[in-house]
């Protein structure tokens, strides 16, 4: 076996996968009342793709509006609502929960050799809170949707007549879902690891999930309280943030970013864990610098807490704080660099196999490097003064968030698709979709760097004629990018229905999830494995294969 020696279960051929496993509930109720981590992970996946497509459609219309100067499709108020909802749905319903909720749930317990997460019912409650929060966000669209942007900055969010309170409450509920998932994962990783699986024998995806779970527990309550304070400010006028009542609007920005900057790491850390797993698998060699990569996850989580002020360089914060936050921001680049260099070193002299998940991952390294390096431009005080609230910022965070988490979400989906569904997809179409997506992505967001540098402000439905060429390139590229996404999804859906049956370990990977059937049985393992080898130890895999 990959991670050590596992007794071969008798009669494995007869193993019933978790889809066919008979529970006391039938039909749809067997899903809605399930406490199986795999089913809950899949329920997150389905709903999340729905939210992603909704927000993508909003983005499509926003880009269409920007095709020509002046009013093209919609009025300014509609445009304001659209970018707010696009941001709220993408950030709170897709990007932040994406990798932990879907793949953390489905894969992490199997990777540590556990039968489930430690609190299965709490896990289901997290899903319901997520759905409840999502529904509230959607209801707010039809009841005077917020026009504040996803940051809900005061004093505007206190004064606007749109239904900010409901949208903010939705984000508050979603926060609870995130906290409970974090608690579940930290406890699971501490308590449920298979015998022999020490912390430094855990796959790096688990390390990513672990670091993320801590951020979810520690940072999310801050934004929860802050958002409640916004509601109280709107309804009771308590005077915490409203300057007219003696409040401090900059305090809101502090509290908001104390959570929302670490949230960037909530979305990227588990995704970075996926990179390590995929590179080790498709380079056919152990990951280079396992311990530094694992430690850099914790370092990013820790330093990521201390950099929130870089979102506030022009908001009236003290000069001393600006210098401190700028310095701290630069420090995050170090553990991030450790990861990127180790990944590249892992590729060196590897027997590289360019499969669809690997292609997505390599594209991620390229795109994320652009996103990360432009982050340093924004973290520098003097250049940030020029670039704040321009399209440069929009381009930067799309490169980091969408190019980072988005690409890796797709990579994960392709990597673990055979395990999750027991089917293969068309590899050629998957690669083609990836290439179309990346071309469209760069065509869409790269011109925004140039526009931002030239002074195009963000969140405006109109622009000066000299920016039109860039906007046309961006809008046309958005069509290309969306085509890539739709092709990718269609290919996966086709694989789901007509794909060939996936073997237990189609990628010749070494972590524990590839030692159980595809799809896995209920409770994953007949016998809890005893782990004796490292997660990427190929010799261990060979020995285990010989034993079989």
């Amino acid at each position: 076996m990959a991670n050590g020696s596992i007794a071969v279960p008798a009669g494995r051929e007869e193993v019933v996968d978790f889809y066919k496993h008979e529970s006391k509930h039938k039909g749809i109720m067997s899903w809605l009342l399930t406490v199986d981590h795999k089913r809950i992970g899949l329920m997150y996946l389905v709903v999340m793709i729905g939210f992603f497509l909704t927000a993508m459609t909003l983005g499509f219309f926003m880009r269409l509006e920007m095709l020509t100067p002046g009013q093209t499709l919609m009025k300014p108020q509609t445009y304001n609502t659209l970018f707010t909802l696009h941001g709220v749905i993408m950030v709170f319903l897709f990007i932040i929960p994406g990798v932990p909720a879907v793949f953390g749930n489905f894969i992490m317990p199997i990777q540590i050799g556990a039968k489930d997460v430690i609190f299965p019912r709490l896990n289901l409650l997290s899903w319901y809170l997520y759905i409840f929060g999502g529904i509230l966000a959607l209801i707010s669209i039809f009841t005077g949707a917020a026009d504040t942007g996803w940051t809900f900055y005061v004093p505007y969010s206190i004064r606007t007549t749109t239904n900010v309170s409901l949208t903010v409450f939705a984000a508050f509920v979603l926060g609870f879902s995130s906290i409970l998932t974090g608690l579940n994962f930290v406890t699971t990783i501490h308590r449920m690891r298979a015998p022999g699986m020490t912390f430094f024998k855990m796959p790096l995806f688990v390390w990513g999930i672990y670091a993320t779970a801590w951020i979810q527990i520690l940072a999310t309550p801050v934004v929860g309280i802050t958002l409640v304070l916004v509601i109280l400010e709107r309804t009771l006028g308590i005077g915490v943030f409203d300057p007219a009542l003696g409040g401090d609007p900059i305090l809101y920005q502090h509290l908001f970013w104390i959570y929302s900057h670490p949230a960037v790491y909530i979305m990227i850390l588990p995704a970075m864990g996926v990179v390590s797993d995929i590179i080790a698998t498709f380079s056919k060699k152990p990951i280079f610098g396992y311990t530094p990569i694992a430690m850099s996850s914790l370092a990013i989580a820790l330093v990521g807490y201390l950099v929130w002020g870089h979102h506030m360089f022009t908001s009236g914060m003290s000069d001393t704080s600006r210098v401190i936050f700028s310095l701290l921001t630069f420090l995050v680049a170090i553990p991030t660099g450790v990861k990127v260099f180790n990944w590249v070193a892992s590729l060196y002299r590897g027997s590289i196999e360019i499969t669809a998940p690997m292609l997505y991952t390599l594209c991620f390294i390229f795109v994320f490097s652009i996103g990360g390096l432009t982050g340093l431009v924004l973290g520098t005080l003097n250049t940030d003064i020029h670039l704040t609230d321009t399209y440069f910022v929009v381009a930067h965070f799309h490169y980091v968030m969408f190019g980072g988490m988005g690409l890796l979400f797709f990579a994960s989906l392709h990597y673990w698709f055979p395990k999750m569904f027991g089917r293969m997809y068309n590899e050629k179409i998957a690669k083609l979709a990836c290439i179309i997506f990346v071309i469209g992505f760069n065509g869409l967001y790269f011109p925004m760097f140039i526009m931002g540098y030239l002074g195009m402000p963000r969140r405006y439905y109109d622009y000066l004629p000299e920016f039109q060429t860039y906007h046309v390139i961006a809008t046309v590229s958005s069509w290309i990018m969306i085509s890539g996404i739709l092709l990718m999804l269609a290919n996966l859906l086709r694989g789901l229905r007509h794909g060939s049956t996936a073997p237990e370990n189609p990628w010749d990977a070494t972590t524990l999830e590839w030692t159980v059937p595809s799809p896995p049985p209920m409770e994953n393992f007949d016998e809890i494995p005893v782990v004796t080898k490292g997660p990427y130890d190929r010799e261990g895999l060979k020995e285990a294969s010989l034993k079989h």
């Binding site: 502090h254 820790l302 002020g309 003290s318 001393t320 401190i324 936050f325």
Partner: protein
Amino acid sequence: MDSEKEKAIHEHESHSHEYGVYILVFFGLLALTAITVSIAGLNLGSLTLTVALVIATIKTCLVANYFMHVKFDSPIFKVFIAVCIVIFATMIGLTFFDLIFR
């Protein structure tokens, strides 16, 4: 391993039954609350806030150690709590850094 488990269970049981200690802590908390209320009526100038926070901290420690059983749990929980406190203090510290120098 088994003896360690038994020891932990034994310790847990013995601490669970120390009702006297819980009652003592409960009265301690009541006394500290009474002190907080009484001090609120005194004019201690700039020390008012510090005194109130020190008493609140002592009360928090009592609740965490006895009612939440941190005192009797494994050291890893103490590490978790310490990390949370350090991060919380850093957040407050960095925010106030802005306020002080603004």
